[in-house]
Amino acid sequence: MSKAQTVLVVAESASGIAELTGGAAVLGEVTTLIYAGEKNCAVNAETAYYLGDLRDESFLKYIPAIISLVQERMPLLILVEATRNGRLVAAAIAAAVGVSVLTDIMELKAEGDQILGRRMVYGGAAIKTEKSARAVTVACVGVGVFEAGKEQAAGTVIALEPGAPGIRLVEKRAKEGKKVNLSAAKFVVGVGRGFGNEDNLALARDLAESIGGEVGCSRPVAEEAKWMPKEAYIGVSGVMIKPELYIACGISGQVQHMTGVNASKTIVAINKDKGAPIFEKCDYGIVGDLKTILPALTKKFKDRR
């Protein structure tokens, strides 16, 4: 296999920088990094271009500068962290070079002289294998696809200048509340519409607490009922989880959701509807009322401690 000579990595989180430069080292010879965040986060790159900490500026203001760099350096492989800003800059790069971005890839590998990406489509009903139609490949990469390499401080660090016509930053507000890290949780309790009302969510939180887990939910719970924030929603278009144990409560088992939990080691389903599709996709299922079952389980796990 012939390696891409220069790989350009665009990332805005420390873990993104570490993982994507790790992937770049496997797929290419020389890594150039474009990054934001803490200045000393630049690792494993010959040259690093710094966008600043972005506390008082929008990532979007740097897109023209990033495009100029791409046009000047002409890298054959560009890896972009799959954040919301990342998706936008990946699209701008793709439009500039005339390719489609391989987004949310689960795997990116070189086969012969081509780079193939695999991703989920149709709400998880299928996996699509695709490649760029031209010599340049642009891929948007999420957490956990590549392994971080051994960290070595970057060579030269050069500051990039912001400047995008037609867009002005008015203000930035940091997110309130604690960050839930569902994708790293060992145990996850999933909340579905079957909870009936928001007050019953305490039952799920209690169970999660008794086993040291986190609480996530199905799409309707976050987006229609708005009982939980969007970040808590598990599914193809939300968070993909891979816990030791996933306990789906009052969740029917739609393809979208089940694909998001498919990597769970064990799935337990609690649902009063015997015909719910989730019972076809779980390891252990119980047909009954979650309002009785959850407190009973919580008590048993608490008593054990």
Partner: protein, 256 residues
């Protein structure tokens, strides 16, 4: 202000069947408007309401023969837009994000005088979350994604972007492209009156040649196959009695 909302027709994923060779059979699936696009249409209607009811809302889609399906045309128009445009070609059924964006761009230029283009977060089938952003770049207009609030202004819009670590408020000059999040609003459910009224609204279907576009793909699909499903034990316990909860707990306690 003229707002154009892009949408995509997609197969109902619950009705996609897997063939013996792990390829997909879409022939039995019903088609629908991509669920994330409904938020974009609703956002367009809200922009109009907040502009004192002034301005036009039109919708544009590109795709295969479904573009001309009268039920689906009514479905989109019943949600409020004044007019529907479609660009139809069989080659667009499997178009990738670059092709889709290029053809949408040609359509938008043909329609003319568009001030604001709204897109959903991603398509309901492929969900690459790219088309709106690529479209904005190809048009050369200011482009924002992850938009969870839009306030129309004079020659500009003010948007809130929901990012991983907080919210960013931006002023964006028009014309612009904005891709909205799925939690920006709850799309309205059309009433019977809306549905009947939709049948009287104008629609225009163009061929690729009529908008002066061609299919130039930015990616090649090697295969689209059903994934391996993790084998599950499927041990189902009936009833929520104390004994059955005990049985479940005994399975679970070994795992925690």
């Amino acid at each position: 202000m003229k707002t154009l909302v892009c949408y995509k027709l997609v197969p109902e994923e619950e009705e996609i069947e897997v063939k013996r060779d792990w390829t997909l059979d879409l022939t039995k699936a019903q088609w629908k408007i991509g669920q994330y696009d409904l938020n974009a249409v609703e956002a367009g209607m809200k922009v109009k309401e907040e502009s004192g009811g002034k301005g036009d809302i039109v919708v544009l889609t590109v795709g295969g023969e479904m573009v001309d399906n009268s039920k689906l045309k009514k479905a989109i128009l019943s949600r409020g837009p004044a007019q529907m445009y479609g660009i139809r070609d069989e080659a667009l059924t499997t178009a990738d994000s670059y092709t889709t964006a290029s053809v949408l761009k040609a359509g938008i230029e043909k329609i003319g005088d568009v001030d604001l283009v709204l897109c959903g977060e991603g398509s309901g089938d492929i969900y690459a979350q790219q088309v709106g952003a690529v479209l904005g770049a190809l048009l050369g207009w200011p482009t924002v994604n992850a938009v969870s609030k839009i306030t129309p202004g004079y020659g500009k819009i003010t948007v809130e972007r929901s990012l991983e670590d907080g919210v960013e408020v931006l002023e964006v000059d028009l014309p612009a492209v904005a891709c909205v999040t799925t939690d920006i609003n709850i799309p309205r459910i059309p009433t019977m009156k809306d549905i009947l009224g939709a049948g009287k609204k104008p629609f225009t279907i163009w061929s690729l040649a009529e908008v002066g576009a061609e299919v130039v793909s930015g990616s090649e699909t090697i295969s689209t196959l059903a994934p391996d499903q993790t084998a599950r034990l499927k041990i189902i316990i009936e009833g929520g009695s104390e004994e059955s909860i005990d049985v479940l707990y005994n399975h679970m306690r070994k795992l925690v």
